[in-house]
Amino acid sequence: MNNITLIINGKSRSITAVSNVLELIQHLGIVESQIAVELNTNIIPRGDWEKTKVSNLDRVEIVQFVGGG
């Protein structure tokens, strides 16, 4: 089988295996601009998304800007 489980933004999700962060973001259909990605507590610079592997049970945080004071 080719599914993996990731903890994305605190929720466990089973998704088709993706090989790296870039694929993950695209798979999730997130607009790539103005977001930040943290993989297992390490922030992954945009430039490293493609070369950063994602494996089963990784913790992923994906954040963006929202209205705030």
């Binding site: 929720k11 103005q34 943290e38 954040v63 209205g67 004071g69």
Partner: protein
């Protein structure tokens, strides 16, 4: 020498701004309403929060309504209760925003949303060391203000009153003392409820005012945004113009000579 608006700019973190009003983007009923309010406020710096992307429904992006060409985006660390959280959020914000400015908040308590100044100072030191332009939301204690300046903060942002309380400047004396204690800009952050609150802060000599709920929570946010814009400018000009002294007694404004009898 007459006062000229042209020569009176706000210099913050090495950048120059015409407007002395910083506005938050939270709590607007719709993004278009927010956009119009921001426009009427004539602010050049808007604050934003950092939150998880919602994966279950695609929602419009705030930034579709806040043109980064027009506004400097100032991410905050609202909701962070520890030095660690605040620092981490600042890093996420820098990665997302490609800018190293941060409105640094380390909240001490959910009910009052007062800052935890001890953790705030520690976080400021770390972020400054790593090249951030740190604008800390702090209490109105002049000693803490100076420590933040010494730690490299680009400004100090004492609260005028609790966030969202709309009570206006509760302790003008402390704000005045802070201004005499530090040389970085002093920005009153939080507590502004109506136009005169903003004017009073500026008349004390503050460099700028930051607000969110005062505008977003008004019955007509767009009108209040314009009111705040006028109020900040009015207060600044009055400060520069040099007000008359207060006296218990009266002084005639019409001549006392030449009265026809």
């Amino acid at each position: 020498m007459a006062y000229s608006t042209e020569d009176d700019k706000l210099v913050l973190g090495g950048r120059t701004f015409k407007s002395r009003l910083l506005v938050g983007t939270g709590k607007y009923s719709t993004f278009p309403l927010m956009k119009e309010a921001l426009s009427k406020s004539e602010t050049e710096i808007v604050t934003v929060a950092v939150r998880r992307v919602n994966l279950d429904r695609s929602s419009e992006s705030l930034l579709d309504y806040v043109d980064p060409e027009r506004f400097a985006i100032l991410p905050n660390t609202a909701g962070c209760y520890t030095e660690e959280d605040a620092v981490r959020t600042a890093y996420l914000a820098r990665e997302a925003g490609l800018s190293d400015w941060v409105k640094l908040e380390v909240i001490g308590d959910e009910k009052t949303l007062f800052p935890d100044t001890e953790a705030l100072l520690a976080a400021t030191k770390r972020l400054v060391k790593d090249g951030f332009v740190v604008l800390p939301y702090t209490n109105d204690d002049p000693i803490m203000a100076r420590k933040l300046e010494d730690a490299g903060a680009a400004a100090v942002m004492p609260l005028g009153a609790p966030i969202g309380s709309g009570m206006g400047l509760q302790n003008p004396a402390n704000i005045r003392i802070i201004m005499e204690s530090v040389s970085v800009p002093v920005i009153v952050d939080a507590g502004v409820g109506t136009a005169s609150d903003a004017s009073i802060a500026m008349e004390l000599g503050c460099d700028a005012v930051l607000m969110n709920t005062g505008i977003a929570g008004a019955q007509d946010p767009v009108a209040m945004a314009e009111a705040m814009n006028l109020a900040v400018r009015a207060g600044r000009m009055a400060y520069m113009a040099g007000r008359i002294p207060r006296k218990l007694y009266a002084t005639a404004s019409s001549p006392v000579e030449g009265i026809s009898r």
